[in-house]
Subunit: 137 residues, 2 copies
């Protein structure tokens, strides 16, 4: 599951996280595993507040994708969290090192074009997001 | 690497492939591994003709993404293959079972919305593709 957190001023709350695979920091949206005892929507709210300290006023499902249909059965559900605002400090595991980065929504395309946002699941999430707003998509 | 094959009539050459992970057929674009001895562009041309029998008149790089930056170093390069036309029969490995499906470009959004295209890397590829053509993306 992953979630695009949108402030009332049309800013996106992103996280910069060190990724061991590619050995560098990447700009992403909050996300994580949905436990069996949990719903995707509740997991999205929980990860959002844990990773960023922001809380939404409304959570809306955008759709789901298969991250790796050749080998895995899992789906990744994508949400948009509307009307998010700073609620409290982040809750981080000791091994996590997450920096919260707030960017205007209009800058997302240039962050993708410039190679700052490279995570396939984040691009897929923004595709589903823009699909709701841009004609022709 | 994956590649969006576009005919001169603005149709996309898709493939329907059985995926063992999710145990069903998914609608995807051609793609595969880039061998160390190969370039992403050459691999894209080779996979295109092997999986579909179509050949491009021009191959254009759209960008690249990280399929799984938490664990893996690999990048997935995305191309658009312009002016593709039927060149010869598909070359299939015995274990592959790939059906070629040609759809108008304008139907891609509804194939995604309707859950026929669900592969995260395919959505990410179309994001990069539409980015070239739609203002605001």
């Amino acid at each position: 599951m992953n979630v695009i957190p949108l402030t009332p001023r049309n800013e996106v709350v992103l996280i910069r996280q060190y990724r061991h695979g590619i050995r560098e920091g990447t700009l992403e949206i909050p996300g994580g595993i949905v436990e069996e005892s949990d719903t995707p929507e509740h997991a999205a709210s929980r990860e959002l507040i844990e990773e960023t300290g922001y809380k939404e006023s409304e959570m809306q499902l955008l759709g789901s994708v298969h991250p790796n249909p050749a080998f895995l059965t899992n789906r990744c559900y994508t949400f948009v969290a509307k009307g998010v605002s700073r609620w409290k400090a982040q809750e981080q595991d000791e091994k996590e090192d997450i920096e919260v980065v707030v960017k205007p929504l209009g800058q997302i395309p240039e962050l993708i074009r410039g190679g700052e946002i490279t995570h396939a699941l984040v691009l897929a999430a923004f595709y589903r997001f823009y699909m709701e707003y841009l004609p022709g998509l």
